[in-house]
């Protein structure tokens, strides 16, 4: 049974079909959020080619995310970053058995519709691409395909869930190979969850109302989340993860799984690193296994990381105030 806080039964993304006179329902919260639950304890890897997607699948990835350029390359290239080429997404969908995700720009409804029509398994409304609408994210209840969003805080996460996100991930700072921001974001979300849970347990509804106003979300979703003591959807870590130990640490902080962007295919030992990060994510609480995984990679082959404080472009701030 799934916690379905904030569920909208009038969502346009819900489709009632009759298959040989049998009633079926697609795009319901159970089906969309349920998909994310199947990814738990797994690694989703950013890929740009069929070959990389196959390496990811062989390494044990639970899904691949198709991009035109890896986040670190997006950072270097500058200009406007858009959704990936549909032909490449389709080629990858035809060559791996695991689910395929793709990114659209924040607020770009029609890029998302194109991806839904392409039949990707999940859409990432992502700050790695250049936002199309700084004020409004996509109203994701209109989609039958589930959508994942990034969040740096509980307020952002709940705003996205109220818009219909079926899954949340940290934003971190993409394309840096620096895990510090992802750690900061998950710790902030965890701290805020602990606070609202203790307020809920104390019965102080007036304070929950104040928090709902501060968060710019409804009272209901704050109350339901506070009662659960965790986000009502699956929550992954993303942004800057480059090594097996990075992945294991984020799992230990309560993340349900890991997105790895540039960390794998921007390294010089992609195959080994992909396997090692999967191993460390699965066995994160067995230190001998994490050590074994870390030993599979060579730090000299790791992507060169970036210091977040000197960055000109902070992708994590995109869409953050909306």
């Amino acid at each position: 049974m799934l916690p379905l806080s904030g569920e909208r039964l009038d969502a346009k993304g819900i489709v009632s079909d009759k298959i040989n006179s049998i009633d079926t329902l697609r795009g319901s919260s159970t089906v969309k959020r349920g998909f994310a639950h199947m990814l738990k304890n797994g690694v989703v890897m950013d890929v740009t080619t069929v070959e990389q997607a196959q390496i990811a699948e062989e390494a044990g990835a639970v899904s691949v995310m198709v991009l035109d350029k890896l986040p670190s390359e997006v950072r270097k290239a500058g200009g406007v970053a858009r959704t990936a080429s549909i032909r490449i997404i389709e080629e990858i969908m035809d060559s791996v058995t695991i689910p395929v995700m793709a990114k659209c720009r924040i607020g770009h409804v029609n890029e998302a519709l194109v991806l839904q029509e392409t039949d990707v398994d999940m859409i990432d409304e992502s700050e790695v691409l250049t936002p199309a609408d700084e004020l409004r994210h996509i109203w994701k209840w209109d989609f039958t395909t589930p959508v994942v969003n990034g969040a740096r805080s509980l307020a952002e996460a709940l705003r996205r869930i109220e818009e219909g996100a079926s899954m949340i991930r940290t934003k971190g700072e993409p394309g840096t190979g620096n895990v510090a921001e992802a750690i900061r974001h998950i710790k902030k979300v965890n701290d805020e969850l602990r606070i609202i849970k203790s307020i809920y347990d104390s019965g102080d509804n007036q304070e929950l109302v104040r928090i709902a106003r501060e968060f710019k979300v409804s009272y209901d979703i704050v109350e339901q989340t506070a009662k659960l003591g965790r986000l009502p959807v699956v929550n992954f870590a993303a942004g800057g993860i480059a090594t097996p130990a990075d992945a294991a640490y984020l799992m230990s902080l309560g993340c349900d799984g890991i997105f790895v962007g540039s960390g794998i295919f921007n390294s010089d030992d992609a195959k080994e690193r992909a396997r090692a990060i999967v191993l460390a994510t699965t066995f994160w609480n067995e230190s001998d296994k994490v050590k074994e995984a870390q030993k599979m990679i060579d730090e000299r082959q790791s992507m060169i990381g970036l210091d977040v404080s000197t960055l000109e472009l902070r992708m994590q701030d995109r869409g953050g105030s909306a």
Binding site: I19, V31, M38, T97, P99
Partner: protein, 205 residues
């Protein structure tokens, strides 16, 4: 005697199955423990095992790496009841073909003689919920949640078909081995988990 039921905790929706199994145990008023298991030593202690939904390629490869695949197979051959859900049913099968990609070389348990197709109903957009029936085990109506689900097109002579959706086989049973293409742990109904726990209890006591 108290029973110990494990949920294979490699990848997928482990906690959801633990919750459903705990509710089922409580509703049945039986004495037992529901535990997540990952390593061979834990698996060897079990009276029954649930292999949850997730990605079968991931669960297969990682349970092969740490030796749990081998012990699961030995336990099942020794008569331990097992419930394989979606990816778990794929794990129980002897061959897996993908609807688009074709034959796949992935580690499997090979304890159910079934002809199985992965991602049989299409991609996530085609995932659905619908009422199904498992009449032969006294569950006339059940909310079947199908997520990128597999289906079975043919079964070996000793495999019983428990349920069909639109002429496709979506639940099977051979002795104490059960496979479902849908996710009972996502439904607001513990009937199937209760059936499985009863099976474990009868088998032990």
């Amino acid at each position: 005697m108290s029973i110990t039921v494990g949920v294979l905790s490699i990848q997928g929706d482990v906690q959801e199955n633990i919750l459903s199994a705990k509710s089922a145990l409580a509703e049945l008023g039986l004495d037992g423990n529901i535990v997540d298991v990952r390593i061979p030593e834990e698996i060897s202690q079990l009276d029954g095992l649930i292999i949850p939904g997730g990605e079968s390629t991931t669960i297969g490869q990682l349970s092969l790496v740490n030796g749990s695949l081998k012990i699961i197979k030995e336990k099942i051959q020794g008569g331990m009841p097992v419930l394989g859900i979606c990816a778990g049913m794929i794990m129980l099968s002897n061959t897996a073909n993908d609807r688009i990609v074709g034959k796949i070389d992935q580690p499997l348990l090979d304890v159910l003689d079934i002809k199985l197709e992965r991602n049989s109903f299409g991609r996530q957009k085609q995932s659905f919920e619908s009422d199904i029936s498992l009449g032969s085990i006294n569950i006339p109506k059940f909310n079947g949640v199908f997520i990128r689900a597999p289906s079975v097109s043919d079964v070996g002579s000793d495999v019983e078909v428990l349920s069909k959706f639109n002429e496709r086989i979506v639940a099977v049973k051979k002795g104490k081995v059960i496979g479902t293409a849908f996710h009972p742990e996502l439904a607001d109904d513990t009937a199937l988990h209760k059936y499985f726990i009863n099976l474990i209890n009868t088998s032990k006591n």
